[in-house]
């Protein structure tokens, strides 16, 4: 089981990554028209959706990992 200090750190990390993740999703939907125009251009613009997907996977991936950890749901050691 996690110690109280581990648990508090986990909560803080979850909140930090969560705020970043929400900010990314807000940006995506505020600028959705521009985003779609860029990805629809195709050819070398293929880099755009790939980079966006990588960025979201890092930020949202860290958030979801910390989210479950902060709820005490961790892998068996």
């Amino acid at each position: 089981m996690a110690s109280p200090s581990e648990s508090a750190a986990s909560h803080l990390k979850a909140i930090g990554w969560g705020v970043l993740s929400i900010a990314l999703y807000l940006l995506l939907f505020i600028y959705d028209k521009e985003v779609l125009e860029l990805s629809a251009k195709g050819k070398w613009y293929f880099v755009f959706p790939v980079v966006v997907a990588f960025l979201f996977s890092v930020v949202h991936g860290n958030f979801t990992g910390e989210f479950w950890r902060s709820l005490g749901i961790r892998a068996k050691r």
Partner: protein
């Protein structure tokens, strides 16, 4: 292509995709694949053009697989080398599979293409799924549920020495000829391009043919999915078909799911992975078999079906597909809760004994 081909997103649509993404991610985190067979039709049912649905599904698949593979690598369950070797040959399978799909669509139209996909589902899931289910039941009945040993085929393959083609894989602590891994990877890719879930071949092939444990095979499949996903995304993004909004909404749900699915693998007995896979495969098989008469009728191969009958068959088929995913998720969550409870009880007993 202009932005008119992308749908208008409503809040309810977003919630729907988030939830399906979560369940798909949960299953993927646990068995290494799954979810895609529901996500593509789910997007199409919202009015997303087929090719945009396939492209957006691919674009959520590779970051999801990356996060899942990294998580399971932390638990020591991933053979990265095996995943990359199989993944590269799978990429070739994807290209050929996509080419077949396009050729069939050109020749026989949408109904022909749908019939081809459904028949592939029924034959492959019938063969592989029934084998996986039989093996799971056998393991459970024999009481050998803690430890997995390579079967006869795997042991034979590991014993074959073809000079110049041998490669060492840490997951099995043995050398295997790439002449065996290449066709398996290729078949995984071919299936991924046909029915969207290469793992239905990839995971059983790694277990029964190459001799990996269920845990290693399902985790390594995530590396294969990453390689196939990124290749597929580049292919579709090059033509401008990716709807990044749809992909990122699904990713939002699926990353919650994949983390939970990966955690779940550390609490359950290995046969549970095969059980979930077998149950999903057999349920999806029924779903696809139900809809075959619709496509046969559209191609005039059987007497025409009434429009009402076609509507019912298609909707029942889609509902059974959702049920397949829900059944898999239900088994995973139940096993996770049960395994975790037992683990916590064990820990508190140990602590009580230590303080006594």
């Amino acid at each position: 292509m202009d932005t008119l081909n992308f749908i208008q997103l409503e809040p309810l649509t977003g919630i729907y995709l988030f939830v399906v993404g979560f369940v798909g991610g949960l299953v993927s985190g646990f068995i290494g694949s799954g979810g895609a067979f529901v996500l593509t039709p789910a997007m199409m049912s919202l009015g997303v053009p087929g090719i945009v649905a396939v492209a957006s599904n691919m674009c959520h698949k590779f970051p999801k697989a990356l996060v899942g593979a990294m998580k399971r690598a932390k638990y020591g369950q991933v053979d990265v080398k095996m995943g990359l070797v199989l993944g590269i040959s799978a990429e070739a399978g994807v290209l050929l599979g996509a080419h077949y799909q396009e050729a069939i669509k050109r020749q026989f139209g949408d109904a022909g293409s749908n019939l081809y996909v459904s028949v592939a589902f029924v034959i492959i899931l019938g063969l592989v799924g029934s084998f996986v289910m039989r093996d799971t039941i056998k393991s459970y009945r024999s009481g050998v549920i803690e430890e997995e040993k390579p079967g006869k085929i795997a042991l034979w393959i590991q014993s074959v020495n073809i000079p110049g083609t041998m490669m060492y894989f840490p997951s099995i602590n043995a050398r295997i000829s790439v002449l065996f891994t290449i066709p398996l990877g290729f078949a995984t890719g071919l299936l991924a391009a046909t029915i969207a879930v290469g793992g239905f071949i990839g995971v059983p092939a790694q277990i029964y043919i190459l001799g990996l444990s269920s845990l290693m095979a399902s985790a390594t499949e995530l590396v294969i999915a990453f390689v196939m996903g990124i290749g597929g995304t580049i292919k579709f993004a090059w033509s401008g078909y990716v709807d990044i909004r749809l992909a990122m909404i699904i990713l939002a749900g699926s990353l919650f799911g994949i983390q939970l699915g990966a955690i779940g693998t550390t609490y359950v007995k290995p046969y549970m992975i095969k059980l979930v896979m077998g149950v999903i495969m057999m349920t999806v098989l029924i779903s696809r078999a139900i809809v075959i008469p619709v496509y046969l009728s559209q191609l005039d191969l059987i007497a025409p079906l009434a429009a009402n009958t076609q509507w019912w068959l298609k909707n029942v088929s889609f509902a059974i597909m959702l049920l397949a995913l829900a059944l898999g998720a239900g088994i995973i969550l139940t096993a996770l809760i049960k395994g975790r409870r037992e683990h916590l009880q064990q820990q508190s007993t140990q602590m009580a004994n230590a303080t006594a």
